[in-house]
Structures are given as C-alpha cells and as structure tokens.
Symmetry: C2
Subunit: 364 residues, 2 copies
C-alpha cells in the first residue's frame, strides 16, 4: 500500500471521525507480556476476551496476536472475533495503532504516528517498542489502505476529537519533553491540525492522577457527541484527582469548539481509589526495565475509559458502589446505545482500560 | 471464522476450480530459512520478488512473511504487492496453503489439509512444521472465509484439477506410507472426492526424477484447460526422466476425464539436466535435519511448474536452449494469455519452482 510522505490528510480532504460515528470494526491486541500482565497473562486474557466479546455484539472485532499466542487466542476467543497474527510489544492498540481518516467519498486512509512506549528511554514504560511501531504499517497492508507517515510521537489515547474539527488533549502528555522535545507547542498543534484535519485544539493541563501514560486525555475526558464532553469527576476535595478534574472542568466549561459552541460538560464520578493488593503484585515477572507494581499503589481508575461501538458502548466496571450510578449516567447520555459493563480491574492493573486496548475503524 | 468438521465441500456444493479459471489473487510466502536458501536467502528473495512482481501485473499478490523479515520484505517488494505477517517454517505456499473452494453463488470457503513437511519424521524435509500447518487457518481469518478441516495429509502440489470433477495425482506421493499410512487408496480417493468435489481421479505412478517432494504431480503434469494436459517430456531415452514421462504419457493418452473426453496431451520438453554447483552448495547453513545439497546432484527442473494468472502465465526459465521453445509452446497453448518467463534456478535450488511457491485464490 502506498506510503504518503509529502502530503497530509488535511491536504487531501481526509478527517478523523468522532468515535461515536459509525464503525466498520474494532482492532485489539492480545495481552501477552508476563512482566506486565500477572499470572502468565491468563487473567488479562479473560478480561480482553470479555471486552472483545462485548464489542463483537455490535461490530466486527479483529484481535491481533503474536505467532506464539495465535492458537491460544483463537481457541479462547468467540468464533465471531477475527484473529490475525501480528507481532507486538504489548497490547495497547489505542496507543500503538493507526488513526483512521476518511473523506466525503467514504474512502479511508490511515495515519501512522511515531511511537516510543510513552516516553522512550526517558521514563518510557518498556524497551524495545519496535514491533509496536510497525503495527499501523501492518494494518495498512491488511486493510488495503494508503498510509500517511506523521512526523510526531503521539499515542491515540492522548487525543479525542469531535469529528468536526475540534480536538482535546493534555499538556502533560503532548508537551512532555519525552515525546517531541524538538517541537514547540505551535509545531505540535500544526501537525495535529494537518494530520487530523482540525481547526481547534483545547488543551487541558493534566490527565488523571497517577496515570502512567503521562496523562492521556482518554482516561479523563472524551466527546459523547459534538458539543458535549464527559469528564472524570470526584466530589472529594481531599482526593488528588479533585484539583485535576476541577481545573479541567473550568477550562472545558469556558471553551468553545470549532463551531463556536460552548461545550456542555457531563461529570462522571470516579470509583473509590483502586489500590494494588499484595497478591496482584506477586504474579508479574520480575525483570529490569518494566514499571514495577508496588503494593498500595493507586491505579488511575476512571469510567471515562470506555469504547463506543455501533449502537453500543462498552465501559469498565470496578466492583465499586459507583458502578451502577456510572452505568445509569451513561444510559442517560447515550440513550440510543446499549450500555455494556465489563469488570476491568485486570486491564487497569496492566496500566490502562477499555479505551486504551481498542481502536475503531470508521465506516466507509 | 467457522471451522466445519462434520461436513465437506461436496456436501455443500463447493468445488475446487481449475487454476485457469479467474482469480481474486495469489498467495506466497517470503523465503527465509538459511539452511535451505543459500547466501542468507538473499538470492531467493530476489527470485521470489521477480515472481511476485510478474504475477502482480495480472492479479493481486499477497506475500506472507515472518515478523523477523516483515520490514525487509516490505521494502524489497513492489508497492502493489500486499505484505502480511505470518509465521512459517518455509516458503512453499502451494503445499502448506489452503485449497480454496467456491460454489455456484460465488461464495468461497477453504480446505485445510494436514501438513507434515513432505513425509513427517519418515523422510520429511524438515522439523518442525507447526507454523506451516497453521497457515490455512490464518488465511481463513484474513479472508474471512469458513474452513473445512480435511482428515488427510496432503500438499497442494500433489494434485491438479480441471475444475469439472477430474483430478490428476501420483501414487508415489499420495500413496506414500509417509503421508497417510492408515488410509487405503480407496479411502484417500474418497477424501479427495469429498473435499474437492470430484468424480474422477487419474493416478500416475511417479513424479519427476529426483523430485524431493516424493513426486508431486505439479512438476510433471497439469491441466491447461478441461480436456487438455501439459506433460514434462524428454526425447532422450537415456535420461531417467524418459521412462517416467513415457509411462505418464501412455496413461494420460488412454485416460478419459469426468465428462468422458479423452485427454489431449501436450508434451513440453524439459531443459538439460540442472546440476548443483560447488558454489551453490556452499552458501547454505550446515545444520542437522535439513536435506543436504550435494555438488553434482540433479535438480528436478521442469517448465510445467508454472503459475496461471488472470490473463497471464508466469513460467520458470533456466538459461537453457529449451527456454525459448518452451515459451513458444506455452504461447501456442495459451494464446489468450501473456507468457512471462522468470529465471528460476534459485527457486529450484531450494527444492521447487514457481507453482510450488504460489497458491491461487479464485474469484468470487
């Protein structure tokens, strides 16, 4: 498939649609690293399978899996999930995968960002990341679409768009010197605008408390539709998340989108702090170079880290009293979609959640 | 994709088309084993690239390649060739790949045969062959088609069909005890008939002289169209190939196909014996368990080992005086197709030729 170097999607009339627009399917990667996923990744396999099964009720799911795990994944996943061999360094398709862009004629291409494992050799989460970085190229071949190569280190989880030309991101991540140290804020904005066909970028200062991605926006805040966003929230003023959410709320409330609308901000109350137990720490391979999991560490649990599917929405649950109010709130915000909850503590233990392990392919 | 165990293509109205029928594309595997392909497989890469390039002028080519070689293959192959990651033990897509079957409504499924590396632990060509055996399953996932699992050890190169219900094969291969020792000739016939939707099987005793596949028919004889076959031939009565070709000629001449037609047999004269040189022997990894290449060994060179593409035909050349007459003969036999020759000695050194490294996907 053609590699397009000299042009970008905005030149050619391609845009990144909102996640709430129609999909042709969803891409995921099978969990495998036993230095990140405890108990030989068997518990993560179960959680990823539950997510894939839930999404596959609404749209086609393709699970990418290393050659070593192909047969195991194929045998564990429901028949309707497509399983394709693809080498990887871990299982965060949101961050390593391509961003699909479409034009008005319903044609699709993809943007292939640079990936450096959330910070490269400067506080990145693992080394090497060479196989992750090839994934957009391989998906371009499988889907038969042309590929733009963007000169920017960027993970899919660090952005959300409304599909009309507005993007939300965080300074903590995109301006972090461990991503694009040689680019100014203006240069980064310019790349985002050209590669995603945007006119307006809303910057939030920080992502969720203790989020090891350097504050990906997709754990904090997302568009439910153009003009409306959902924000991870807490009413507990003593929680370190409180000032982060409050600051984001005020910025979003005062922001306008590409069409000049003031954003409507829906607060989604977080669960109680999710703390790693001693048992959960013990099942991970002890190796140098991986982020250690420490007993008592707080994980960045947020209901905002959900995936919007065709006619459905798959959201994380934590076995928390807030689970039910959160699902009720989502039913209210997405009355046209079936809301499916998946117990996701095991995914959170690996460092992310349902949105982080999925990547939508828009309808063409 | 669905695995169909209890039924077979004949039950469901699916048949294997002739190779001369229309295709949606061609599947190949990138050469990589340095104990089979000399000089780090670099010369084979060049030959496989020439074959892929030639076929891609007529139909889409998908090159499957291990994760290790993905980037190299992608960079060496022309842009129009699709490159997909797929683990493998070697590069013989004809033999390890699926047999695609279609029905009258234009739907496709595939047959997944058992593969044991041309003889398993009893004179097979390498061990292990576990990744080769998974290839039909992986292609089923990529193409999105349902898969019949056939209870038969069988390589695609050991059969040729006319698409109307007639098959040609060799006793040397299919009745070899290193393939299906527990099945009788009648049981093997029955499986072939049920899984390929056949009514008539023509058995030739032996394949080409010194063919390490145990006499695959695709190096000796193939259908050019229903009712007509092309046979590897020599007029040299002292050549050990002579009695093999003569015997096959007499059987074919006297045989009738599923429609009761007598077969028309076209003789295609072989090149002079192709002998491995000292230089060619030296560039292969020295390991136990691979078939040794010995200086002076004769390779089973045959022009019959060609690939029929949409509107084209890609045939092996050997730098032999017979190359030109062979191409002329093929132009006469396939006046509606463009005949493209590819210098194929390097593929032959690995143990096969152009037909052995390709597998057509019929048009749906």
């Amino acid at each position: 498939m053609t590699l397009i170097l000299s042009r970008c999607p905005a030149d050619d009339g391609y845009r990144m649609p909102g996640e709430f627009e129609d999909h042709d399917g969803c891409w995921m990667i099978w969990p495998e690293r036993t230095d990140n996923w405890r108990m030989g990744a068997k518990l993560a396999e179960k959680a990823f399978t539950a997510v894939a099964e839930a999404i596959s009720r609404f749209e086609m799911v393709t699970m990418c899996v290393s050659g070593r795990q192909f047969v195991n994944a194929r045998n564990r996943l429901p028949e309707q999930v497509r399983v394709i061999e693809m080498s990887n360094n871990d299982s965060w398709m949101r961050d390593v995968g391509p961003t699909f862009v479409i034009n008005d004629q319903g044609r699709m291409r993809l943007v292939d960002w640079n990936f450096n494992a959330w910070g490269g050799l400067d506080e990145g989460l693992y080394f090497p990341w060479d196989q992750d970085d090839l994934i957009p190229r391989k998906i371009a071949e499988i889907t038969g679409v042309d590929r733009y190569k963007a000169p920017l280190v960027m993970e899919g989880g660090s952005i959300h768009v409304d599909g009309e030309g507005t993007l939300i991101t965080t300074e903590e991540c995109l301006l972090n010197p461990n991503r694009n140290p040689d680019l100014s804020r203006e240069q980064i904005e310019d790349h985002l605008k050209r590669y995603l066909n945007l006119k307006k970028i809303i910057w939030l200062p920080r992502g969720c408390y203790n989020d090891e991605t350097d504050g990906h926006v997709d754990n904090l805040c997302c568009f439910s539709r153009p003009g409306e966003v959902i924000l991870n929230w807490t009413d507990d003023q003593d929680d370190p998340q409180f000032p982060i959410s409050k600051e984001a709320f005020e910025i979003l409330r005062d922001a306008s989108d590409v069409r000049g609308r003031n954003l409507k901000v829906h607060k989604l109350h977080q669960p109680k702090p999710v703390i790693i137990s001693a048992e959960e720490c013990q099942g991970v391979d002890l190796v140098e170079g991986s982020i250690p999991r420490q007993v008592g560490d707080r994980l960045a649990a947020s209901y905002v880290n959900f995936y919007i599917a065709n006619g459905g929405l798959v959201m994380p649950l934590f076995g928390d009293p807030q689970d039910q109010p959160a699902m009720d709130k989502m039913r209210e915000l997405f009355p046209e979609r079936e809301i499916v909850g998946v117990f996701a503590r095991e995914i959170l233990l690996g460092g992310g959640n349902i949105h982080c392990i999925t990547q939508q392919q828009p309808k063409t």
